[in-house]
Amino acid sequence: MTGLPERTEKKLGLVIDLDTCVGCHACVTACKGWNDQGYGAPLSDQNPYGADPSGTFLNRVHSYAVQPTDTAAQIINFPRSCLHCEDAPCVTVCPTGASYKRAEDGIVLVNEAACIGCGLCAWACPYGARELDQAAGVMKKCTLCVDRIYNEALPEADREPACVRTCPTGARHFGDFADPESKVSRLTAEREGFALMPEMGTRPVNRYLPPRKKDRPEEASLLAPLLDIKATGLAGWLDRVLGKI
């Protein structure tokens, strides 16, 4: 059923720290690697070694140059994936019921056995989180690694999404936003985590942490007081006389 649940017990999602992300694309690779096996149709590539390679990815890392009004520009790396929205428009548009949001943990998933590949959900998503797999003809999207996070066959440390597990700088965090004491909730509160494109009315669950304020170059030199030397004696006399000529 493509109706959205009234409320979900948990609100699982990611916090992505734009201050810490170095744009290494390890999360992209880990995501592609994990989702090539196991859950659903593998993420296919078309012409991967040819002149015009293309493929399905559930996570993409953009890099932006951001120019503040009063200081130097910053490079900010920006991973983009499904935000597991509370008012997910991709779910309600689905004609077959393949697209759904789980009442227990809020994860937005695709039942590939019911997906006709019409692409309407990808149109409805403002964030470009869904890509139609060109080999399987079904819609692919981030599953929050639903086949890892509850998987008791894995060591406990590995029971988080592949992107989070692999991130070398700890820029990605996974947890339950419905619990105010969870790591993701506290990070969001402490660092003023924000949602993307709130004007689209989708109420995303994932939050992004803004880059921390950067140090600014001092206007005056730190040595200024020491450099303010009053010339005395002969030098002082010369200074005064030469200044008058």
Partner: protein
């Protein structure tokens, strides 16, 4: 948005077909000519619906699209089109074979034909992420095209000419509001990335060097380059030329010429409807 030929053909032909069927349902014809006219209406509507299946990744599961009518406009459209075609069937048989059924089925079918075209339009109008589509002018455009198409095929110029004028005005309004829709939606690179709090955002490096589904499907830039020209073609071919043909020519020639030019205009309009619609996801790529 990518102007996929299957979707353009689907919306144009099924719209025209349902418009013509509604007209037949309301007015009624009799005898052998009824067989051909109803056949033409059914042919257009069904051809359109069949074309729509061609853009599916897994068309063998298409029947599942009937399940989510409570939330999905696409599912509602599937139901509405099947109900419409079903309602018209007894009316068509009655008209052809002279069974004297009255106009009940025809009138009900005409109402449902309107509902079907409305549902088709709502598939696009519901999508907030495409501001140009997310507007009240979209259902009127689709409905005006359907009614005008039906009237052009009927050749009843007394009704067709005013309807073509209505179509022209609706199109002009749609384009007028469409031009500022994206700005009014308020999405910018700053809001898309949330980095407006730091400063003005521009792309430093794209996330991938090759193309992908998003770029092919939602960031189609060709249409916008020629938007003004295509708009002119759409207006001249779907409004002006059919009007002139119906006013100056007579009989079958008038209908054939008017219908042919109308179809070219409708295809141009529908191509532009997709090609010039900008999806907000383009903001992440610094493109629209």
């Amino acid at each position: 948005m990518n102007p996929a030929p299957s979707v353009i053909v689907f919306t144009v032909l099924s719209g025209m077909g349902f418009g013509f069927l509604a007209l037949l349902g309301l007015t009624g014809v009799s005898g052998t000519v009824a067989f051909f006219l109803w056949g033409l209406g059914y042919g257009l509507a069904v051809a359109g619906l069949v074309a729509s299946a061609f853009h599916l990744g897994n068309p063998q599961r298409a029947l599942l699209a009937f399940t989510q009518w409570r939330t999905s406009w696409l599912s509602r459209e599937a139901w509405a089109s099947v109900i419409t075609l079903g309602l018209f069937a007894p009316q068509a048989l009655s008209d052809w074979l002279g069974l004297g059924l009255g106009r009940g089925f025809g009138v009900a079918g005409a109402v449902m034909a309107g509902v079907t075209v409305f549902c088709t339009a709502m598939i696009y109008a519901q999508i907030r992420a495409v501001p140009r589509w997310h507007h009240w002018t979209v259902p009127p455009v689709f409905l005006a095209y359907a009614v005008a198409g039906g009237l052009v095929l009927s050749g009843v110029s007394v009704l067709a000419l005013p309807m073509l004028c209505v179509l022209g005005v609706t199109l002009a309004l749609h384009w007028h509001f469409g031009a500022r829709a994206f700005a009014r939606a308020g999405a910018t690179m700053e809001s898309a990335t949330g980095l407006g709090r730091v400063g003005a955002v521009s792309v430093f490096e794209q996330p991938h060097t090759g193309g992908n589904y998003l770029l092919r499907e939602m960031i189609h830039v060709v249409g916008r380059r020629h938007a003004e020209r295509v708009r002119m073609i759409a207006m001249v071919f779907s409004v002006l030329l059919p009007s002139l043909a119906l006013a100056w020519l007579s009989g079958g020639v008038a209908v054939v010429v008017a219908a042919a030019t109308y179809l070219i205009g409708a295809l141009a309009q529908r191509w532009l409807f997709f090609a010039e619609a900008e999806h907000v996801v383009g903001l992440y790529y610094g493109r629209r």
